[in-house]
Symmetry: C2
Subunit: 179 residues, 2 copies
Amino acid sequence: MALEHAILVSLAEKTASGYDLARRFDASIGHFWKASHQQIYKVLGRMESDKWVESHLVAQDNRPDKKVYSITGEGRDELMRWSSVPTPIEPLRSEFAVKLRGTQFGDRDAVLADVRVRRAAHEAQIAYYEASAQRHYPDPSSLREDELGAYLVLRGGILAEHTGMAWCDEILQAFEAER
Amino acid sequence: MALEHAILVSLAEKTASGYDLARRFDASIGHFWKASHQQIYKVLGRMESDKWVESHLVAQDNRPDKKVYSITGEGRDELMRWSSVPTPIEPLRSEFAVKLRGTQFGDRDAVLADVRVRRAAHEAQIAYYEASAQRHYPDPSSLREDELGAYLVLRGGILAEHTGMAWCDEILQAFEAER
DNA sequence: GCCGTCTACGCAACTAGTTGCATAGCAACG
DNA sequence: CGTTGCTATGCAACTAGTTGCGTAGACGGC
């Protein structure tokens, strides 16, 4: 579904090999849409048959050849078409929420330890995002048009992580109050 | 992965047929873990082979027979074991974020229309959750132990929806400022 | 009397994504 | 000189979840 389009967006910004894409999906775009390299290669193959992308082999010194993909006109059309269709609202899906709900049937202390770990992870992620924002968008009041999307996505990540942390705090407080 | 455990939690609270579970997954638990009835029946079958649940047929008047499932001792053990293993931190996965990031390659106005739709959906969900909180937990300062988990999950939902709405507002503002 | 909806269960075919493995040359470390 | 790690691509087998369909009786509305 969206992996195709995430790849199209990424290739529209800059051509890349499957390997390059896999690295991008470990960073920037990947913070909001994960993909393994296996999945990327699989989907790239399909996208090439669909003529959304095209590839050419590039020989390199001291490194394996690579297949560099670029987006086609059809790929850009698809991106346009896709952007004009409303995105289905994806329901939350949290294994942790299930566990929290079932705390009474489980190991309370383990769940609380888990909450603390998650809180720390949110905190670290905020620091990472903030640093990234500082570095790439030091002045958010004057963004180039081509930066706006990525900046807003980063903002979404920051907001979500703050919320995650606030939730953890609320959980810890509630359990401490109960004890 | 988690569907099994969501079902175990649900059955630990109260025995149910596959159909009952499907309805619960359309409401309460389902707000944080969706599942179709097909998937539920499939997983219930596996769980019965694994001895985590057991079923017996119940005949009904004017209605089809139903298979009522209940959790077994082994099922409760599994729930305990699962709760003591840290939950892997699930990365966000948002098709909408991908689209937002690619706005420059798409239909800007359509994306903004989408944002407005999503904002309204968040607003509606907040109203729904708040009503649910009011009804089930009118006094959050004194919750029974068996209510705490479900309450905190609901709180998580409320926090997440508020964040979703705030993000939409930020996006709308940024695009309006740009124009 | 037909149509839609609800209860209740399930199979079959498909798609998306994960896990494990394979290949292969080069560079850096000890 | 062996091990680890990076670049680079991909297949095979599996799991989870979706979509579409089928069955079947009861109830209510028009």
